[in-house]
């Protein structure tokens, strides 16, 4: 009992004085959000202004020009138009998967963690098993059995293989919050369990959940790209992965058609980078040490430089 007492008092003494009051948003967050918003806008707006992505022409395998800003494919389709539609497709898959994964992870993680007992044991065993089974091979097996691979089916397959990691994080967070005094206090005040979960616990899980959501988004877009690249993606929907699949099969590599296979991968990398930067900032909110410790070092160095000058 006393242990907790004095430890927290000690932490308080140093951390209270170091925590800045109102801080402007971190650079990483601004840059990350900027990237993500730009790509989302591109996917939403650009398809209305581009040429028909499937229109075949005789100008096959042409490099970037005024007529085709990003060149053409082997069959003379406009790469920019394809990229615009693929952006829309990839984002759609990503968001659907991330939402599904969030719901699954919240269900297994929060419910198991809060209710405890044998239910938690079962949920947690299930989560750990799903976590350890390699995702892509499983997706390949399921994907290859199904001829009509619709958007929802692929999204579902991606979701069931990508929720476990954040469910585990949510469970341990819920366990820790559940045993905090403010949850006990809410029970003593007479709050109902569902209200304790949704009003007292859930808001404190928001940073962890948003981090999990962003992570699921990255995983889903990468996973979809991988599936599509090996020809098991959504039938009839263009995504960055399917573009790369056609580029690889269309000999873009050996024919030197870099304008065909570089842009989709670049988009994935940049979007993933943007999302990671956002997560970087969320991490710093979840664990203030990550932000404070480096910032403190920099401030002291700056102050010393100023004092020396």
């Amino acid at each position: 009992m006393t242990t907790i007492t004095e430890e927290s008092a000690q932490i308080d003494e140093t951390e209270k004085t170091t925590a800045p009051r109102r801080r402007r948003p971190a650079t990483t967050l601004v840059v990350g959000l900027g990237i993500v918003v730009a790509i989302v806008l591109f996917g939403l707006v650009a398809p209305f202004f581009t040429q028909d992505p499937l229109a075949v022409s005789n100008d096959g395998m042409q490099g970037p020009s005024a007529a085709h800003l990003l060149g053409t494919t082997q069959t003379g389709q406009d790469v920019l138009a394809q990229l615009a539609h693929a952006t829309r497709g990839s984002l759609m898959v990503g968001v659907i998967v991330a939402v599904l994964a969030l719901l699954l992870s919240a269900f297994f993680g929060i419910l198991g963690g809060y209710l405890g007992g044998w239910l938690d044991e079962v949920f947690s065993l299930f989560t750990n098993v799903v976590l350890i089974l390699p995702g892509l091979p499983l997706m390949i097996v399921i994907g290859s059995y199904v001829e009509q691979r619709g958007l929802l089916l692929i999204a579902f397959v991606l979701a069931i293989t990508s929720w476990a990691a954040s469910a585990r994080v949510l469970r341990s967070q819920t366990l820790s919050i559940r045993s905090r005094d403010y949850v006990h206090a809410a029970r003593i005040a007479g709050e109902k369990p569902w209200r304790i979960i949704s009003v007292e616990i859930l808001p404190n899980l928001l940073p962890v959940m948003s981090s999990g959501f962003v992570f699921a988004l990255i995983t889903a877009i990468l996973g979809e790209a991988g599936l599509s690249f090996i020809g098991l993606g959504v039938v009839g929907t263009q995504t960055w992965g399917s573009m790369l699949f056609y580029a690889q099969n269309g000999q873009a590599l050996t024919l030197g058609g870099w304008w065909w296979f570089v842009p989709p991968g670049f988009m994935i990398a940049v979007l993933g980078g943007g999302l990671s930067l956002i997560n970087f900032s969320i991490d710093a909110i979840i664990n203030p040490r990550l932000r404070n410790a480096p910032a403190n070092v920099r401030r002291v160095q700056k102050a010393e430089k100023e004092a020396g000058a």
């Binding site: 091979p137 399921i142 199904v146 790209a225 690249f229 690889q248 980078g273 999302l275």
Partner: protein
């Protein structure tokens, strides 16, 4: 006790994978058996035993209840009978796997170990030098983490192999020069061929380890025992390694399962880009040829390998964290 509990968990996971493998073909629409059998028939006579094994594996065995089929399936697995491959007819699936498994084990194993070591080392340094220029490079590495494995592979092939001709475009070794054997010419040739695939895996999976380790270092450095170590006047290198990194590395090790899943998934696609003769490439071959027996056999073996690697890491964790030992 700790070890028994771990073993129990891995047995459950293994059972889940095996059972999943049994139910997927039965639960999903379409009957692949006829397709497989007709393909096999094109290539030669199919004896009844083979037919039955394929039926059990793929779920077209209408003789007996589901439970009987399940028992038969388990019995076949125990006997190492995974059916016959269509792609490599008439080679048994187990033999195909046996030929491709070593390539992947070496490629993925070595690159994972290399990545882990580099990532942990750089993460340790970045965390130790928190707030300096080295540390401010960290956000940039997150981009690396989001590059799709296979796209990076495509870029390498295009730039280094197609344009500059520095590396081979595809394959595991030069079939015109060497034959598989444990001698210098073959091993060096194989290493030459493995370089780009390995580089791809290392670069794309490095960011995760690096960032995780750096964040744990920053957290660990605020711990009281670091202050104790500094007050003791210990050499900074000892504080960094024995006090900070030694503690900060634990979550990276216990989170190995998540990372390994990514690496294995990534390497499957990388193998397809390089036509590398490993498990991943073979799996894609089986997809293209509707070779369901081979596909499922590969799924099983990949899962078993991942489980085994994780078990090994888990046992290692018990050694490096004395607190788990005590709980046993």
């Amino acid at each position: 006790m700790h070890v028994l509990r771990k073993l129990g968990f891995y047995l459950v996971a293994l059972w889940a994978a095996v059972t999943l493998n049994f139910f997927i073909p039965r639960a999903l629409p379409g009957s692949p058996v006829d397709a497989v059998l007709s393909k096999l028939a094109l290539r030669g006579p199919v004896d009844p035993a083979t037919r039955e094994a394929i039926e059990v594996m793929l779920g077209a065995d209408d003789q007996g209840s589901l439970l009987q089929q399940y028992v038969q399936y388990l019995a076949n697995l125990l006997g190492g009978d995974l059916g016959i491959s269509v792609t490599y007819f008439p080679t048994p699936v187990s033999q195909v796997i046996g030929q491709s498994l070593p390539w992947t084990l070496v490629l993925v194993g070595v690159s994972t170990v290399i990545t882990f070591l580099i990532g942990i080392t750089l993460g340790t340094l970045a965390g130790w030098k928190r707030g300096t220029w080295l540390d401010s490079l960290i956000p940039a590495t997150t981009i690396m983490q989001s590059v799709p494995y296979f796209w990076l592979a495509l870029l390498f092939v295009y730039a280094l192999s197609v344009n500059l001709g520095l590396f081979p475009i595809s394959g595991g070794y030069d079939v015109t020069l060497v034959r598989p054997a444990l001698d210098y010419p073959f091993v060096s040739n194989a290493m030459y061929y493995a370089f780009l695939p390995a580089l791809t895996i290392v670069l794309s999976s490095l960011g995760g380890w690096l960032l995780g380790m750096r964040n744990m270092m920053v957290s660990t450095l605020s711990e009281d025992y670091i202050l104790t170590a500094e007050a003791k006047g210990l050499h900074p290198r000892r504080i960094m390694l024995t006090y900070a990194a030694r503690n900060a590395v634990l979550p990276s090790v216990s989170g190995f399962a998540i990372s390994l899943g990514f690496v294995v998934s990534g390497s499957i696609v990388v193998e397809s880009v390089f036509s590398y003769p490993g498990i991943g490439f073979t799996m894609l071959q089986s997809v293209q040829n509707n070779d369901y027996s081979l596909m499922q056999g590969l799924f099983l073996i990949i899962t078993v390998s991942v489980l085994a690697a994780n078990l090994a890491v888990d046992l290692l964790y018990g050694v490096i964290d004395p607190r788990t030992r005590a709980r046993g």
